[in-house]
């Protein structure tokens, strides 16, 4: 079972302020039934001072959800609404001497119930901006949604970058498979493919190897494409070089290869061969993903 602190256990076994407050003038209801937690917070607020005179909770949830609810009501009693709104979910967790990473969402729920109740008191509409995904990194309690959003917002490409932006994966590294899966999915939506070797750790380039001229680079790239072409043509497909922009090599898959499930796999294979042939890291990307591109065939028209 979970490693709950003494404090969590104590608040679970003898919850404070359970039940609805009589003569409540503020109610906040939040939760996620699918994740098994839901909380109704009722407050009695002194209209003159906006002080919380009494607070009560009703919770459908696990041990830490009940303990977090109990802690929340204890913390906010006697505070003004503005003071109460400053209570963070970390404050709730700290009050309980910590929560297991998988259970941090229980404390988030407490804070949100509070915001909802205050909004209700003030006649405002509270909207939830909180999305929750499955826990990916247990070392740092980071869920899939946060990782996904961070990848999108910052255009991340590698596990290392995800570690730097979200902390996810920065501990025991057991969650790297999960992080790679999210990267693969998000990158493929943008037409890119996830390259495990890409990014901040550059491939060792043989010392003393002269830099290739642009012409030589393109020749070698074409040579790699020529070498895979017969295989693709056997499957009634083809590949064509569209553009080379620094380390990005844009290619167009044609015929049976375009949109074929194996396209991504094929591109990865081509990429590996190109890295080998060029002695430097390049990324092979479908032309469709080229920023502001026009169809090459129509470009001159």
């Amino acid at each position: 079972m979970w490693e709950y602190s003494e404090k969590v256990q104590e608040h679970f076994f003898s919850p404070r302020n359970a039940g609805a407050v009589k003569e409540a003038n503020a109610t906040g209801e939040v939760g996620s039934l699918s994740c098994g937690d839901a909380l109704r917070l009722t407050l009695k607020v002194d209209p003159a001072t906006e002080t919380i005179l009494d607070a009560g909770f009703q919770t459908f949830g696990c041990g830490s959800a009940i303990a977090s609810s109990s802690a929340l009501t204890e913390i906010i009693k006697g505070l003004t609404l503005d003071q109460a709104l400053k209570v963070s979910n970390q404050d709730i967790a700290d009050y309980l001497d910590g929560l297991p990473p998988e259970k941090m969402h229980c404390s988030v729920m407490g804070r949100e119930a509070l915001q909802a109740a205050v909004a209700n008191y003030r006649g405002e509409v509270w909207t939830d901006d909180h999305e929750e995904g499955a826990m990916v990194c247990k070392c740092f309690a980071v869920d899939a949604k946060l990782i996904e959003n961070t990848i999108r917002a910052n255009g991340l490409n590698t596990v290392e970058e995800v570690v730097n932006y979200t902390k996810a994966g920065g501990g025991c590294s057991a969650c790297h498979e999960g992080v790679e899966e999210i990267l693969t999915r998000v990158l493929s939506e943008a037409g890119k493919s996830f390259a495990p070797t890409a990014g901040t750790t550059p491939l060792p380039v043989q010392a003393g190897r002269p830099r290739l001229t642009t012409v030589e680079r393109i020749r070698r790239i074409e040579a790699v494409l020529d070498s895979v072409r017969p295989t693709l043509q056997r499957d009634h497909g083809d590949v064509e070089l569209v553009d080379v922009d620094g380390r990005q090599v844009y290619v167009k898959m044609r015929g049976a290869c375009a949109g074929c499930q194996m396209a991504a796999v094929t591109l990865e294979g081509i990429q590996e061969q190109m890295i080998e042939a060029l002695g430097e890291f390049v990324r092979v990307i479908p032309a469709e993903a080229r920023p502001h591109t026009q169809e090459p065939d129509r470009a001159c028209a």
Partner: protein, 406 residues
């Protein structure tokens, strides 16, 4: 084992106590009988003899035709993976798998991975009582299917699937059939030689043997490719020096399971039935999940509506009672058990499911004690629940309490 000294253990589908006789049987193989069974000298030879006997004991419990059909592995999960991956390996042209939506993760997680590798997996749905539609299953069988993998008994609800019938259907269609019988072996009679089952997985720790020992039953002449290659152990079908002490323990446990089969079917079943009836009578708004007409004799899974399972377990644990739950919170996932969802159990009930799983080491007193303490625990938690009124659920609970982002 008394209720007060040790607590009440009603979580035997999770794992079981190693039977004292089993411990006794295995102990010498740590000390004086430490030899490698492959060795020529006397140290190894005696161990080899003992393993041979254990193999026959497993064969007898399973009703297998030959003792060479028993392959020792490290656990149920390894057996499941070995069976499914072997079937794919020997029939590379077959790219489909049939399984069910309610399998153990040992099968489901593997199938999900195989989907990523390009295989098509058909997950047979279940109805509200956890039953399969055999006609729908029959329609999926084709020469594109490499293997059918269907559990014999469900670990959460105890529901039994008609695997013997399903294996015959598979055989008629020329498709390999594997069953994860981890929960069934030792609890229901099995006679493999009279079935069309090609492969079967079992796990020692579910039948009073230690953890970390399993078996893959592999019908003679079934095409096979090992998961682990290396030495010639298990006739080259599972390389790695034998876990001799655990194998001998499993043999002993299988012999005892056979001796107690009648007891399991009568006495243990009676305890389970009493527990279930007692709880249903004493607690309002609860119901049994799964198929009461086709169920393991030891398992009762009860949904207590409007409260959450982990909270129930914590309160039970405080009284020294061990059970388990299908709630999201106990697993650390965000969803309640996939088995409950597959049966269409509403969330407010799925989160409050508690599985009581008994064994021959449980007593009638323990059952009475649980019947006595559960109702107040449920009442106490319902008092905290926003879905519960004074002495019943609030009117139209799902509407009366509809939290933001539910």
């Amino acid at each position: 084992m008394t209720a007060t000294a040790q607590g009440i253990y009603f979580d035997n589908n999770a794992t079981t106590m190693v039977a004292p006789e089993v411990v006794e049987a295995m102990l010498p193989y740590f000390s004086e009988q430490f030899g490698n069974p492959s060795s020529i000298h006397q140290f190894g030879n005696r161990v080899g003899q003992a393993i041979k006997q254990a193999r026959v004991q497993v064969q007898t419990l399973l009703g297998a035709e030959h003792d060479s059909e028993i392959v020792f592995t490290s656990c149920g999960t390894e057996s499941d993976s070995t069976a499914i991956l072997s079937a794919l390996k020997v029939q590379p042209e077959r790219r489909e798998i049939i399984t069910t939506a309610v399998e153990h993760p040992a099968v489901l997680a593997l199938c999900e991975q195989l989907e990523k590798d390009g295989y098509t997996v058909h997950y047979l749905p279940v109805d509200g009582r956890g039953r399969l539609d055999l006609d729908a299953y029959g329609r999926l069988l084709s020469e594109r299917v490499a293997i059918v993998s269907v559990m014999w008994a469900n670990n959460e609800t105890g529901t039994l699937f008609p695997v013997e019938r399903m294996a015959e259907m598979a055989r008629a269609a020329g498709v390999l059939f594997h069953t994860d019988a981890v929960q069934a072996v030792g609890k229901v009679p099995i006679d493999l030689k009279h079935t069309a089952i090609d492969m079967l997985s079992l796990s020692g720790h579910k039948l009073h043997a230690p953890k970390g020992i399993g078996v893959l039953y592999l019908r003679r002449n079934t095409r096979f490719r090992p998961l682990l290659r290396g030495g010639h152990q298990e006739r080259g079908r599972r390389a790695g020096t034998e876990n001799s002490a655990a194998i001998i323990a499993l043999g002993q446990a299988c012999a005892m399971a056979l001796d107690h089969m009648e007891h399991e079917q009568t006495a243990v079943r009676a305890l389970r039935d009493r527990l279930e009836q007692g709880l249903l009578a004493a607690v309002p708004n609860c119901f049994v999940t799964g198929d009461p007409d086709a169920r393991l004799p030891n398992t009762a899974n009860i949904a207590f509506e409007y409260i959450e399972g982990e909270a129930i377990l914590l309160l039970l644990n405080k009284l020294g009672i061990a059970a388990s739950s299908g709630s999201a919170c106990t697993s650390g996932s965000l969803e309640p058990s996939h088995v409950m969802r597959a049966m269409g159990i509403p969330y407010t009930a799925a989160h409050g499911t508690i599985r009581f799983s008994l064994s021959r080491y449980n007593s009638a007193e323990e059952v009475e004690r649980v019947i006595e303490v559960v109702p107040p625990i449920v009442a106490q938690l319902r008092k905290l629940s926003p879905y519960w009124g004074v002495d019943g659920p609030v009117e139209e609970p799902e509407k009366a309490f509809a939290p933001a982002y539910a």
